[in-house]
Amino acid sequence: MSDVVEKTLTALPSLLSLDSQPGSAKLSSNSKLGNLIRGITELTSKHEEEKLIQRELLLIKEQVSSPNTTMRQMKELMVRAIYCEMLGYGVSFSYIHAIKLAQQGNVLEKRVYLAVSLFLNEGHELLLLLVNTVLKDLQSTNLIEVCMALTVVSQMFPKDMIPAILPLVEEKLNHPREIIRRKAVLALYKFYLIAPNQVQHIHNKFRKALCDKDPGVMSASLHIYLQLIQENPEGYKDLAPSFVTILKQVVGGKLPMDFNYHSVPAPWLQIHLLRILSLLGKNDQTSEIMYEILDESLRRAEMNHNITYILYECVKCIYTIHPKSGLLEKAAKCIGNFVLSPKINLKYLLKALTYVVQQDPKLALQHQMTIIECLDHSDLIIKRETLELLFRITNDQNVTVIVEKMLDFLRISEDDHTTIDLVGKVAELAEYAPDNEWFIDTMNTVFSLGGDLLQPDIPNSFLKLLSEFDSVEEDKKLRLFAVNSYISLLQGDSSKLPQRFLQVICWVLGEYSHLREDLEPGVVVRLLAKLLDMKSSSSETKCWVLMAMTKLCPGGAALALVHDVSETYSSSLDTMLRQRAQELQILSQDSELQAKVLPRSASMEPVEVDSSLSFLDGFVSEALAAGAAPYKPPHQRQEELSRSKLNLEPYGLSLPISISSCSITDRQSPTLLSISSGLSGDSTDFSHKGSTALKLDGVKRLWGRDGYLAQKEQTEEAPRIEAASAVRSADQLGDNNALNSQTPNPTPSPECDQEKQQLASSLFVGLASQSTPAELSALSHSKVTLLFSKQNLDVSACHVQKEDSVVLVVFISNCSDSFLHQIRLQVDSEELETEEYGAMWLAFSHDTKQNLTLIHDGRDPLAATLDVLKRKLQLHVVEIIVEAIVACCLQQDQPCLMHCRMHAGMLAVWLRSPVPDLPDCLLYCCQ
């Protein structure tokens, strides 16, 4: 009897609760979920699993819709539904039940919110049904209900319903419990992310949260501030000292022990603060107050080897803010430790070297052997990061080696995204091409590897480059080479070539195959016709083929082929194709018309386009008469926008950092890239390629200043060594060992090592720092920026700090060995017409705006100011139109355009130039 009682008693708990015991880790042996999971694990095939789940889902469906199911059973059903959904089966029928449960349930069922948040996405129509429940729960006096409501609100809430609950969430910022305040802050952060304009009015409450007595609430508010500061760093400069103080307290261990993570005080908070500081200190003098604390956290993080994440963030911050030499050195050392570390995760941080490279390329040279090793690393990810680094130190002396490495990687990479990215980079780098053959070959590889994933702008810019080359002779050679290479490609197996590549080939052959005199147009046409017959050719490619044929206009036997082709396609279903075929048909019969429509000699001249769109005048006047608003050019609209806001912040002197820092963070555009290589002291002009004297010059400076004088000879020879003598290689062995003793990595074998050495010297060639005059080295100065170089002369600029002022120094340096007898610097102004000005204005990308005060000396203030500017800057006034003046100044071959406009007693000036630093320098002079 007692036995029976005992058995009943032991069975009781499992009868009462269908679920596992909360808090216990024990598996509930007889819960339905447990059975389901066990059932699935016993199955052997996917098919069986599918059957089982379908059966299970049917059961769940039946039970949830039955009115007799209790709340608790419902909850259990939801858990099973979540599980099925996780396995990838659709359980949309249960969504409505989850919401219903959340609506009617008491506290016990509130955890069903979880099911809702897992099932439904932002924007799901059923979410609207939830708004009321959330509202009710937010007003609840039960802490846990409020917590859950806030959690669900931050996970998914319909955008348009935010105003309904916003006041309630705002109210929670004053809640006595810190956990609620913290969740409320994060919920508001989430609202800010999805609908920034709706939380604008509570910005001062964010400040209150920042000053909250609980550190948890304060750290939650940093999320919002990080976001706000990212969008508008100027507006929060005043908070910088507060952030510094907070960081000081955190680093100093003033927070409660609760916030420690493995004896590191609040690492998440620290990282947030460091990121905020780097945003605030970027290009700004406020950086000064940060130096001390950065130094301190760097020191503390270094003491404990585990906290590399703080070190890494510190280093990033130090390189972003206004530079300080002492800190930079420490940061560089820190990165050096990362790179040399045996830990693979720290090797990955190799990319941090990019920061170093931007500041001082010489430091990268210290790590060249490590970089080479990473380049051959078995982990593809490390390899890829290394290529990223190399991409940033490319100049026209090491471009061939780096591109070769990238192409090698591309051949083994399988990831589409990586391929697209790298192909883009190679195409960018290809513009450093040392010669035509290399350029065309590289682009061929790019096109065939990139396949049809290629960004469409790559073939476009390639064709553009081909069609508008500067010198006629070079030009012809390049095109001829392209034609030759494409003909031989088509003669081979062309069925494997990607469509984009085929299109490029068609265009080039159509335009330029006449350059090769021994080539019959008929041969080309026959090759092209082969493409039409291929099954893989898309109809777009076929259009390109037909267009190329139209341009070629052959005679003789090929004419019949052309007729056949046009005949076939003129009845095609594709309208584009049909049109091209018709064109071909007509133009091939009428050679006179063909010569008129597609004049061969003038193919390089731009087609005349009526850019003023005068043929639309009638339409415009009609629209104006009907009450439409007159057109405003974009800059005018911009100005009207900016007029509404007053800029009270002083402008920082930010010329050099802006360049370096933006090239650190962003993926580089080709223009940025060329600057950074310009910064790295590479004075070789494109037109001077091949002049060895210049190349050696760059190398010599690099090694001379770096203390690696022993390597000097070797590096100079490096580019040629690969092809040349073994005797010389034997000579270098001694040098190699000398360098290897500096790196802690063991040398595998001299031969292998030498290969690496050669690779290193060909990779890092031309990475020297800009030399500065001796007079400058005594004063503290910002980074020297190369404005432009001509032949052996560099014109550079930098800010120099004198005792009580900052001066902009522009200096000319002679980078060749020969003495210059006479330098005549002349700042020329060329006469420009308004139309030319307009065209140039659109072509130049680097835009700077500044407001200047007008000079009042009794005359027309505009004229007076202009006169002064004219004298100072060697301006040349192009035209004065009513209130807007167009002025332009040209410095040597680097023009800078200026556009002025008067308003509100100020002179607003826009400067544009192809040289990014020129406007900055000029603006500086204007002040």
């Binding site: 598996l27 996780m86 990838g88 919920a187 993570y261 995760n345 990586t418």
Partner: protein, 154 residues
Amino acid sequence: MLRFLLLFNRQGKLRLQKWFVPTSDRERKKVIRDMIMLVLPRQPRTCNFLRWKDLKIVYKRYASLYFCAGLEEQDNELLALEVLHRYVELLDKYFGNVCELDIIFNFEKAYFILDEFLMGGEVLETSKFAVNVSMEQADTLQETMEEYMSKPAY
């Protein structure tokens, strides 16, 4: 900010999924498939970071389970590893020497812990103690309510 957090085992079975930004079903399936394909074949002693489209992927293996998080461009990868580690510690504290089975059978608990730890993709509470307290409170409430409900009404 974290974009998503996935837990899957060595056989590629998904154990937990959390999306911090709205993601469509199709996109979710694609991400899950890609992550499993990317992470599982990784050799030991390779680095814990990957790139996938414009995201940084940080993963770490704990026993038979892979924890895999997707991060945005400007996030600190090393810190994300610590986020994963802290989550494991929290699970460990709650379940007491956590194993994959705990997460399989009590996955809703794992979700609750995650909700206390991360909110909207950002770290909310880093203290092991505090997370545990709020978990316990919620659990106790649930227990008492269950008890209360199961009592016969007099």
